[in-house]
Symmetry: C2
Subunit: 279 residues, 2 copies
DNA sequence: CTTGACTCTATACTTAGTATAAGGTTTATA
DNA sequence: TATAAACCTTATACTAAGTATAGAGTCAAG
């Protein structure tokens, strides 16, 4: 019966010597024989079985502590149970990753749009697809306040997302909405902000559809409500001049946020959009 | 302009105070103002923008160090690049998780089979579906050696798996195969072990199909080649007695491995199976 | 007998924080 | 104005699963 030194055991199992020493110290895998004089560890090849079981359980997401407990308890049914639990976890994980993936794809599209956007401050007519949004009503009219209030509202929205276990990645693509009737009255007023969400998003409450259609759009950098009012003015004036008919709600979309900060302030790339009918 | 204490800033952003102190120390997010007398940190609500960006980048899988570097460099294109990189990573991740999920489902089935298996040592006739295996040839005839050699071979296989970047989870469902011609000569000899793999497994080399069909099976616990020979004898004798015709390779499948160790040895639940035709 | 490869223990370090202690500050209440 | 509650400070230890390193001892081959 040949004994394996720690180095050979490690190489054989594609694991580090330190890891084996750690397992020894934890009592997870004691060497078959330890030389009392030198402290040298010697392993039996058959101990690979236990090492396999350890890495299998590790792969299933158990901590070394948990693994030790179960192996100590000689618990036959552990694996079956862990497998079942793990299956559920992985299902959830896959679902979350897919959601995240979609949000990332949308983000990528948005950054491309930013890079290839029409000239800032110039009105463009665009065909936009149907989009789904998740609305959140806040206590104040955001156009009556300044950026501080907007930040507070975003915090509210973020807490709301967290509370409802929505993917945080949605948070990077927000917007605000002015309802058509309010706009028709010539007012800029809103107490609604929203997130763009996926088509297959499941939630009964607060989900709304922005229909596909023709939109008059205008792009600008950075943000203040003063600036938004200015560009909204240009956009509305253009619509009036061209005799377009407004057929839906006004949308202010944060297309992308830039990781550049002046005085710690948000640096956003905005697209205002109003659905129209060409008469 | 109201200033936020660390506690308020933390609560507003669903983050711990310690995390904020850490970000301060790292230079990732310095408070707007620090009282020199008391050391109290005071944040501006607008700084939430930077905190949002930090958590967004964190969500995208960047370390705090990386985030700091990019924010310090005022790097506009980071996000676009990180997003693209992240998309690829997530794709891979999803693929791996799906593979793992399948292996887990198979493991669960196997454990159920173990729990509800026919009496040990009794021959049963079973219809088995088509299965795909990934064969690995080893240098020796495994039936001429003892368990030590088998363990060494498993190590070889494991390294092979790692090298070819196959999911390690396959490793929990292995087997060995005795080719029909060898069996027909009345010999128990093999230098092939294999892994059961998924239907959609992509690899041109070494992949083989075990056709669906009727199998004579026998189950037993634990393992030694001596024991396998004994049960193989019972199985073959049964086949001869009943005048069945052997129509394919002999399979020794490790249905499940139990996390119970005597003298550090592997404790396996085995199913021997020989494809037959009822005459 | 020496050299090189190997092993030992002990300690520090990693990440992104959490937990806690001991002490100072602010704010609300009595 | 006194005091208590709530809050803030720094410093240290801890988490998980190791990795990296130093300094000293051991083994095997030539």
């Amino acid at each position: 019966m040949d004994m394996l030194t720690i180095g050979k055991m490690a190489k054989l199992n594609n694991i580090s010597e330190q890891a084996l020493r750690l397992y020894d110290k934890m009592g997870l895998l004691k060497p078959d024989y330890v030389d009392k004089q030198t402290g040298y560890r010697y392993y039996n090849i058959k101990q690979c079985a236990r090492l396999d079981m350890i890495s299998y359980m590790k792969e299933l997401g158990m901590s070394l502590k948990q693994i030790k407990e179960h192996l100590d308890r000689q618990d036959v049914d552990v694996i079956h149970e862990v497998l079942k639990r793990q299956k559920i976890l992985i299902d959830e994980n896959i679902k979350k990753l897919k959601q995240k993936q979609k949000a990332i794809v949308r983000s990528i599209e948005n950054y491309s749009r930013y890079a290839a956007s029409p000239r800032k401050g110039v009105v463009s007519i665009e065909q936009l697809p149907q989009r789904k949004i998740y609305c959140y009503s806040c206590s104040i009219n955001i156009y009556e306040h300044e950026l501080d209030a907007y930040e507070y509202m975003l915090r509210e929205l973020k807490s709301h997302i967290l509370l409802h276990d929505l993917p945080m990645i949605y948070f990077c693509n927000v917007g605000s909405i002015i309802r058509k009737d309010v706009l028709d009255e010539g007012r800029l007023a809103s107490n609604e902000i929203f997130l763009f969400i996926d088509d297959d998003f499941e939630a009964s409450n607060g989900v709304e559809v922005i229909p596909a259609g023709t939109f008059a759009c205008i792009y600008f950098d950075s943000f203040s409500f003063y600036k938004e009012k200015k560009y909204a003015g240009i956009l509305l004036e253009h619509i009036k001049q061209n005799n377009y008919r407004i057929v839906g709600d006004y949308i202010c979309e944060v297309v992308a946020e830039l990781p550049i900060f002046k005085q710690n302030e948000r640096n956003m790339f905005i697209r205002l959009q109003i659905p129209i009918e060409l008469c």
